[in-house]
Symmetry: C2
Subunit: 625 residues, 2 copies
Amino acid sequence: MYTGGYTGKVLRINLTDRTWNEEPLREDMAADFIGGAGFCIKYIYDEVGPHADPLGPDNKLIYAPGPLTGTSVPCTSRMAIGALSPLTGGANVGLTGGHFPNEMKAAGYDAFIIEGQSAEPVYVWIKGAEVRFRPAGELWGMTTSDCQQAIKDELKDQNVRVSCIGPAGENLSKIASIVNERRVVGRRGFGAVMGSKNLKAIALRGNGRVPIADEVKFAAARKNIRDLMKNSPVLYPAFSKVGTSMLVEGMCAVGVFPAKNFTATGAFTPDEEIGSGALGAYGAGRMACAGCPVACSQMRLAQDGLYAGVLAEGPEYETLYSYGGMTGVDNADAIIAADRLSDEYGIDTISAGATIAFAMELWERGILTAEDTGGMDLSFGQKDSMVRLIPMMAQRQGIGDILADGSREAAKKIGKGTEKYAMHVKGLEFPGYDPRGAMAMAMNYATCYAGADHNKGFPVQELLGTPIPKEFDRFAYEEKGWLAAYNQDMATGLSDSATMCVFPVLLALAGVATETVSALLDAATGIPFRAEDIKVVGERTNNLARVYNTLVGFTRADDDLPERIKTEPLSQGAASGHSVPQEAFDSMLDEYYDSRGWTREGIPGGAKLRELGLEYAAAKLGVAK
Amino acid sequence: MYTGGYTGKVLRINLTDRTWNEEPLREDMAADFIGGAGFCIKYIYDEVGPHADPLGPDNKLIYAPGPLTGTSVPCTSRMAIGALSPLTGGANVGLTGGHFPNEMKAAGYDAFIIEGQSAEPVYVWIKGAEVRFRPAGELWGMTTSDCQQAIKDELKDQNVRVSCIGPAGENLSKIASIVNERRVVGRRGFGAVMGSKNLKAIALRGNGRVPIADEVKFAAARKNIRDLMKNSPVLYPAFSKVGTSMLVEGMCAVGVFPAKNFTATGAFTPDEEIGSGALGAYGAGRMACAGCPVACSQMRLAQDGLYAGVLAEGPEYETLYSYGGMTGVDNADAIIAADRLSDEYGIDTISAGATIAFAMELWERGILTAEDTGGMDLSFGQKDSMVRLIPMMAQRQGIGDILADGSREAAKKIGKGTEKYAMHVKGLEFPGYDPRGAMAMAMNYATCYAGADHNKGFPVQELLGTPIPKEFDRFAYEEKGWLAAYNQDMATGLSDSATMCVFPVLLALAGVATETVSALLDAATGIPFRAEDIKVVGERTNNLARVYNTLVGFTRADDDLPERIKTEPLSQGAASGHSVPQEAFDSMLDEYYDSRGWTREGIPGGAKLRELGLEYAAAKLGVAK
């Protein structure tokens, strides 16, 4: 039974009839799923029918921070948002930071469950245990920073925190994101879920405190994590100064920085143009999420030409990959502008950049022509076309309408055998790591419930050399199924459910992450969390998500990679010669299933589900015997 | 002696040595100049040498609200900013609203005097009687809304109020503005004055109250103005719903809506495309200055094409004129985008639009070609070229560098006899009223100390039919010199020095404006202001400004209008056939000087200066005998 960490209250908001009520947080939820992604998956499993229309009134949006969110533990102003994804069709969860998560706890809630569909544009205003439904007709069409400011002005309170969508979400782009301040829940199309509900924004103000179960233990655990962070050789000396952009140099060096829609990885390595070194000249300060001493968020200001004066948060590594490597645009000014426009129009940078790169490959192949693009040259490297396409996608203008739902949908609309050039798994575009140079990443992309998601199982062993639980050869196939599952469960437990920011976990806690975080959870909540529980919560969540997606209709066939990855070895760079041949892929996938206790068809086994306390899921799946 | 209204403190900030001190507000200043523009002109006269470089360390920036600012009187969160103008070369003053003026009084100040020049980019942070000089290197280059947000984030206080410049001011554009929130001090190039001082912003937070000399009298006077406003047939029923855009229809109807750089007034009347009716479809809420019940500020959201999703405050009438009529762009989306970009890059919409229109006329005449513009088509009506030119001017890119300092400077650089197409007086571009259809406006443009400024002497008698002090035929030449001086003194006293917003003055107070405002001033300050004092303060200020500008070197020759106004009668519309012939112009100007007690050379006479208590100015001018 929890006696701290949690507020104990879940806010259920029904947009159809504009009602709301508070429900107690169930104790088994807290112990079994911790918070964040765990809560999201559990609520989706419990409440959203697997055949619901992701853009219909039966889908639900779950907002869930963790039990450390809102406490004085650094790097915990994080929350998960979960829903049935219009992009993948399955259960999905995205994480975000900023100030909104802490404010949500201060407002008194462990989770929001947002259901139904408003007849008119609306925003929800939550303050002091009161929920108001306010008309959003005049906000409809606004970009995200304007929308946030307009709400603060309307409420006459500049300290309100806002989570909102831009035009992309309103126009039901399946790669639309949800934006709070300069922080984004991207990729999974949750912006479109909000848009489909006619929900422009959630505004929030709270001043409550999160109770702590054992203040003495908590202070010690908190000191421990601060010391670990302070002593990290990477966190403050390097990471806080350049942020994730440091990965550009790193991934170029190991030959996995993807280029030109994965046709030129290793050959196009713009690390000197858009890496962390080059970006120093664009520096315009740093930002931090609430309570974060690291402040990894680098503000960059475009300096020259058409985009001079445009400010962006980041561009983060993934954006440098998508608007840089993928499109062949080695121009920092254009990438900064693309980044800002994406956040303003509320469209995901990874999926948008990857989808533009997909279109560029079709242009290079002569499949798309000037007639399709309204005269725009879509050759790789055409920076102004790339930037221009972003609002066109968000507004569904011209070819932007075809690209607005990501590469899989675009390929369907365009036809002509273009599906094989769409670099995605389950509809979710690849992030910035060519899996031909990292086999556990290949397995993670293929099997993750969310689609090709780097954050839900990043193989630090392969790409960052972290020897935990041991060293791995990134090109070897053996044990990679097992390793992918290990990384997925750790990530889902630590960063997604305990909602501890992934960066200190990777760069400061590493081998002691589960001990450190479980001690914090234990002290904050009063629930006796032990180190080994973290990974079990991750495993439980991944299994429940898998059960759900199986009920949706996903099979082994969906745990796949695009043909190119299997048949076209890299031709240059440190991963040259490597691919993920079909035979190796199959054997790794078998091993993944075996290590998870799932059938070779990818269906969770009854024994494993029972072991995880998911008897009810086993019953639903018909494997309860 | 004042016992309320004023805080009694003036803050002097020296940027060269980063020092500051508080000085008492002199009692004679309060009684003789009220505040706002009066204070600005007085401080400029006293402290800035007439031969100082406007962009050098010897120029000073004066911020001055009025004695009603920060009180509960509606529509008084207004302030003046004064300095030697880099655009006109003379003393100049701009007014603005928003929240900054009230906050300035809450912080405890009747005025700021900002002097010197910082060696490095800096911003000033004023809170609780403490002034801090903070590095602004990372803010340099930012657009104005990003800069304001970055400062709030850095200071960890979202309620800070910021007055700042954008890239135009940094790049010393002589038409750069100063921006606080979405409110602007435009036109006079004061953004460049801030830029020349390496001053990116002033940030402010206060919580003091403005003392009131006589609370009982004050409450009665306040009720009186509220009743007058409430009973106005125009203020709430119409003006608050559409703002200044209602003037588009009005000025088109009377044939003075200027078009295509004053070559097509009356012929190009886009009131159905960009008038207040048409703009209703772009509505996205309204905003108010602090304490204003009118909320005339209309937010507009671009709907279609390239600019869809761009939000702007306004466009106000003057912007609809400059980016609409002047450029021949009858497209609301493009004008909204141009408006927003102007505010973001910190460049004045009137001067920028008028200067672009000037360039367009040169293009039509073949004087500017694609070689000059980098391939851009500058024909009248080219909306995308117009929008693109704005950041180019602010950043001094390509032809933007030539246009960045307004039409007079552009004509000088281009040569080829183009000066006659530059529609300005004393370097200040014409606002949105063709003076060929309003002779007192013609006189006001020609004689105003600030250049062609509509706000400092608007002929409501001619253009709005207001019969105060009596009715006037707008095309008649008689009494127009006198009327221009009357309007200038009233405007300078009421809206510029008492800093009462011009709109309630015109639309609600009208004939009782001086009685209403003097009663408020009397009750607030304890100084026995009477109705007739208001105009005298305006006259005193205008005379002192004239003395100063005479010392700068201005003569009768500077009180002139562009050749076109005198030689090209309007060919269409309700003012068709009219111009301001040289002979009529000369006689009106003589009458203006005569009515002011100035010589026919435009030099203030000793008797008048003595009458106004400006013996010291008479002595300096050598007319003290």
